[in-house]
């Protein structure tokens, strides 16, 4: 018992050294973190007062620009409002003011928007943004592009074209959006060269920007041949949104594309752009596709199916997937004038019980 106790004592001393160091280290770290946090909160609180003041100033500048469209904002008013704030030196105020101008600009159009742009240029804020285009940090570059685009500072378009293939995704996205906003449908020319994928998000954004423009002619055909499958997908979306009927055959060809996403988009595209041959293309491809794509195909058949497709669709009422059965029945009803009657007739003579499906479709049609 005694030996154990002495042993305990020595081991206590050995452990103690390493352990004290460890413990002291952790406690020091803890104190450091805590004091950093306190300091941060104190600094922030003291800034808060200044910020409120700054916000009032930038608000009154923006108010004048947006609300008072009979009386243009001038240097004198700006100097008076800014007071002692030095725009050149005060980076924080500049950031705050720029941010507020941008968000205001996004909300309005017309004369008030022109006034905001006028204010922005009068304050020379565009100079700072242009300088930031070459910043090393990607988010500074991307923000600069975004800012210049929102404030419609054209004249940099050629320069921005280089950024559409930038290795940073966000710089790329902002540059692509900028081109479309400045050059309209012509701005889409970056699709010819872009090597990086265009995300779904970016595609939605581009389509939205285009939807604000008056429709115009553009040639989607070369993009269908692109090596970049996301460009093909985007071209299909364009063709669908802008009713490019002359592209029907090129779109139908995309049903055989090696990339599943392209095939799915082609199916969806045919829902808007179809001829009397379209359903043959779909039926020809049907068995080679996954269930997800088959479902999409049958949903398209609801739009474009005709009496010729009745046999094919009736066969599908025996499909193992319940979802597909329902969609096929719906397509069948839409395929001919007395579709509902023939579906009900089938329901009676078939061994399969599809009464629930019939009821479901009847309810949908009555709404």
């Amino acid at each position: 018992m005694l030996t154990l106790k002495t042993h305990l004592y020595t081991s206590f001393i050995i452990y103690w050294d390493i352990q004290t160091i460890a413990l002291a280290g952790i406690v020091i770290l803890m104190v450091c973190l805590l004091s950093f946090m306190l300091l941060y909160m104190l600094v922030k609180a003291s800034h808060e007062k200044k910020h409120t003041h700054w916000r009032l100033i930038s608000d009154s500048l923006i108010h004048k620009a947006v609300f008072d469209d009979d009386d243009r904002i001038d240097e004198e008013f700006i100097q008076m409002t800014l007071g002692t704030i030095n725009l050149k030196k005060n980076k924080y105020f500049r950031k705050l003011l720029t941010g507020e101008i941008i968000s205001a600009k996004k909300n309005i159009t017309g004369a008030a928007a022109e006034n905001l742009i006028y204010l922005y240029r009068l304050l020379n804020l565009d100079k700072y943004a242009i300088k930031n285009l070459n910043n090393l940090r990607w988010y500074v570059r991307a923000r600069a592009i975004h800012e210049l685009t929102t404030m419609q500072i054209s004249g940099l378009v050629d320069h921005l074209h280089l950024f559409t293939n930038d290795s940073n995704e966000y710089v790329r996205m902002e540059a692509q959006s900028a081109l479309v906003q400045f050059n309209g449908f012509e701005g889409l020319s970056f699709l010819d060269t872009v090597a990086y994928p265009i995300s779904d998000w970016q595609q939605i954004k581009l389509l939205q920007l285009l939807s604000l423009l008056p429709p115009s002619t553009f040639d989607t055909a070369p993009w269908f041949q692109s090596e970049n499958s996301t460009v093909v997908v985007f071209a299909l979306k364009l063709a669908r949104n802008y009713n490019r009927f002359e592209q029907h055959d090129a779109i139908a060809k995309c049903l055989d594309h090696s990339e599943p996403k392209v095939r799915l988009e082609a199916i969806l595209c045919l829902n808007e752009i179809y001829t009397d041959e379209t359903s043959d293309h779909l039926i020809g491809r049907f068995l080679k596709e996954s269930l997800k794509h088959q479902l999409a195909m049958i949903r398209v058949m609801q739009t474009l199916g005709t009496e010729r497709d009745i046999l094919f669709l009736t066969d599908l009422l025996n499909h193992e997937s319940d979802q597909l059965k329902l969609d096929a029945a719906r397509a069948l009803v839409n395929a001919s004038k007395n579709g509902m009657a023939s579906l009900e007739a089938y329901s009676k003579q078939s061994e399969q019980d599809i009464t629930e499906i019939v009821m479901h479709i009847k309810r949908e049609m009555s709404v």
Partner: protein, 122 residues
């Protein structure tokens, strides 16, 4: 004219309020759909301007509430985001009278409101 505005974006609210008051209208601002519907009986507006996406009750519900309360009078102007055609169509089915797409010009708003003012005067 008495105008009830339902809009949750602060900047838009400021702009609408400023512009409409400048045009000589009496304006009540509500920040969400529920507040707008609650204000209907008390304020008895001649025109309602409502955003579509709002807290508590959507603009569509505001439209149907207004049309239920005043089946003939009180026109509704819908403010919608860009590319929301299907929602605008739905709003029209529920009885909305006009729509504007954000972002929009304050001057345009002024003109559209004025048009309803004229029809009311008749």
């Amino acid at each position: 004219m008495k105008i009830l505005v339902a809009e949750d974006d602060q900047l838009m609210v400021k702009m609408l309020e400023f512009r409409l008051k400048k045009d000589g209208h009496e304006v009540v601002i509500t920040q969400d759909g529920r507040a707008a519907v609650a204000k209907l009986s008390e304020f008895k507006p001649d025109l309602v301007i409502t955003d579509i996406m709002m807290p508590y009750l959507s603009g569509l519900e505001v439209v149907s509430a207004v049309k239920k309360k005043y089946p003939t009078g009180t026109p509704v102007i819908i403010l919608s985001g860009m590319g929301q055609e299907n929602v605008v169509l739905e709003a029209f089915q529920l009885g909305a009278d006009d729509f504007m797409t954000k972002p929009f010009s304050p001057n345009e708003l002024s003109v559209r409101v004025h048009r309803f003012d004229l029809t009311l005067a008749k």
